[in-house]
Amino acid sequence: MKRSRVIGLLAASVVAAGGLSACSASSNSNSDGVVNISITEYQQTRIDAVNKLIPGFEAEMKKQGKNIKVTMVADVLTDDQFKTKITQQLIAGQAPDVLDLGDSVVPGFAGAGYLAPLDDYLNNWDGWSHYYPQIKTASARQDGHVYDLVHETGVQNLFYRKDVLTSLGISTTQPATWDDLLARMVEVKNKTGGTPIVIPAGTAWGGSTWTEGFQPILGGTDKNYYSLDTGKWDLNSSGFHAVFDLYSQLFSKGLLPVQDLQNPNPWEPTKYVGFPAGTIPVAAQGTSGWKFDWGPAGKAPIPDLNNVVDTWQYPGLRSGDTPYGWSGLGFGFGIPEKSQHKDEAMLLAEYLSAGEPLADQLVSSGAASPRDDLADVKPYADEPKLIAAGKNLASSVYVPTGDGADQIAQAVAAATELIISGTADGDQAYDAFKKDATDLLGPSLIK
């Protein structure tokens, strides 16, 4: 009996000790005054770029009499995987102190109260005055506050293989309308038998079907589909139907690589295989294409990139529309509301969003600067394509959205999936989208 009791007590002790040790929170502030903060990145290029900059930040802080140590929480993930992971961490209050967030997730996180408003910090930071006015305007979310410090941006355009189209005898001048572009793509298809253009579509591409595929086309022909003032989506806004019709035309003419679009990771056979090989000579792509995707150290390098690849602006979709580039906020640093070291985290965000540290990151990821004082800062100064993209920001189109963007993205992905799987035409896809979006958004977010 005694032996049983001993074993029982031992078992209970082990369980209790395990439970208690799991519950204990690790302290992130040492008694010697060192403040430990963490930053997370989920793309290898950004991980490498920021890792190189951390020692410089720590040294700079030391000069200012602040003892701050930074830990990189690196985890290479896709956008969707990262969003899933960081959402759980934000809810649990376990997220790193600085989050490098894609713009598409910021409204949802800000709306839920996971991110700290940065307005006071930014108003006291001299770097904020160098941000382009349109970036500042777009950074203000639905409630008027800024929740992330944008550190890279870009312009979404149609990248095309100049060498391939020229060898096929296809015009490479800026197409004025989608009809013009479709006619050229049909010509390519007739000559090669392939599927000449890739635009994100369907559910496999995740949220990017909306942010990189559908929305850039929609925003060029219709800016009334969302109102920041009311926070409501207008599902009857005329542009939706026009864009679904365009997708339907692209499908019915056999121009989209529909099989690849329906596979997991559809960007791999299209952007990373088809475009570099020249079999898909046109791709919707942001500025990062010059570095992150097809640059010498990119995912799928294209030799002599600057000479064989060029960009068109998006052509006009409806009568009266003119060609345009679509700008996006790209990535920004956010700070969790539950972070215990917001001040130190903001110092890191500011350090990484100015001068050489920012220039290094922009060149690594292939993005344009959101600031007006970087054109002479190396290594950014040596990148004419990125500088040009930065200049194009002023004339590019952007329609800021807010709460409900995730649901719209979901409904658009599902509706375009119907098109590329051949089960719906433009009308039917639009009807399916409206029904789905109405269900998902609920009455409070619909005009």
Binding site: M1, D80, V105, G111, G404
Partner: protein
């Protein structure tokens, strides 16, 4: 010759020596102490989340957006939405096909065949045969998925395409052309070992005399199996069906790693639908309601199996 008188239980208890009673009383705290941690873990990590999940299914809880700040009770709205939602109903259909072909037909039938073959005394190399069948069970799910992604790869160096090329066939994108059949085949491969182990153990308990008697009566091998062996192992067979149905309905990793539910939702089984809704699109309320519907379906199936097997669970 001696005679035995059976005393009533109460009389027996009354006649128990006081020392045994004291021992039982003294051991009660120890039993509670030993069971306590397990009970606490079950309550904290299984019962409480399930109850909370049920509560969430009646709310419009979201993980992102302004709605995340103030979730509200919405009654049966999520259930009504799901039961009229084509995507969800379609995912239930895919789950049914996946369970039927991979678990009920594939794993059970092939597991039974493997168990019967391994129980034959004339089979040589049982160890190698058994190890080959058991191997898929010990391979981690992610490793198995990546291995099969390589086997089913669409390029010419994919293992299956290499094999078919010997017969002059061109490369095929198996996960695109026959996605459901592909994931069914992979799940059969992975689950056959457990079926074989269970059926082997059951077959060993079948009295040899009964089989020999049936043979002497002129029964053929199929008749012996149908009329003698199968009725005797019905309990383990239905128990296996119950277990494999539960685990296959909840299957996620294997299918997600291979197809992520595509193409065009052809392999979007219920678990993937729930993952997409609850975690990718942050709609925890709807995801929880979908989980509850799935739980109800599994419970009904479980009851049917138990009823058919007359197994005491």
């Amino acid at each position: 010759m001696t005679s035995t008188v059976t005393a009533p239980a109460s009389a027996l208890a009354a006649s128990q020596p006081p020392a045994r009673k004291r021992r039982r009383r003294r051991s009660t705290p120890l039993i509670a102490l030993l069971l306590g941690p397990a009970a606490v873990l079950i309550i904290v990590f299984i019962v409480a989340p399930a109850v909370y999940g049920m509560y969430l299914s009646f709310t419009n809880t979201q993980l992102t957006g302004f709605a995340a700040r103030s979730p509200k009770l919405v009654g049966f709205d999520n259930y009504a939405y799901l039961l009229t939602n084509a995507d969800f109903l379609s995912s239930l259909g895919h789950t049914g096909e996946f369970v039927l072909y991979s678990a009920i037909i594939g794993q059970t039938v092939l597991g039974m065949v493997a168990a019967i073959l391994l129980s034959r005394p004339w089979i040589r190399g049982k160890g190698i045969f058994g190890a080959a069948i058991l191997m898929p069970m010990v391979v981690p799910e992610v490793v198995a998925s990546l291995t099969w992604a390589s086997v089913l790869s669409n390029n010419s160096s994919g293992t299956l395409n290499l094999l078919t090329s010997f017969f002059g066939a061109g490369s095929t994108d198996w996960l695109q052309v026959v996605p459901l059949a592909s994931v069914v085949a992979v799940n059969i491969w992975r689950g056959i070992a457990f079926a074989m182990i269970m059926f082997q153990a059951a077959l060993e308990d079948v009295p040899v005399e009964l089989i020999e008697a049936a043979r002497i009566d002129g029964a053929r091998a199929i008749q012996v199996f149908r009329h003698v062996t199968l009725p005797l192992i019905r309990g383990p067979v239905f128990l296996y069906l119950l277990l494999t149905t539960i685990s296959t309905v909840g299957a996620f990793g294997l299918v997600y790693f291979l197809t992520q539910g595509g193409p065009a939702g052809q392999t979007r089984i219920a678990a993937i639908y729930i993952y997409e809704r609850a975690l990718q699109f942050s709609q925890i309320g709807i995801g929880s309601a979908a989980s509850m519907i799935l739980l109800a379906i599994v419970l009904v199936l479980g009851l049917v199996y138990v009823r058919l097997a007359k197994v005491e669970v």
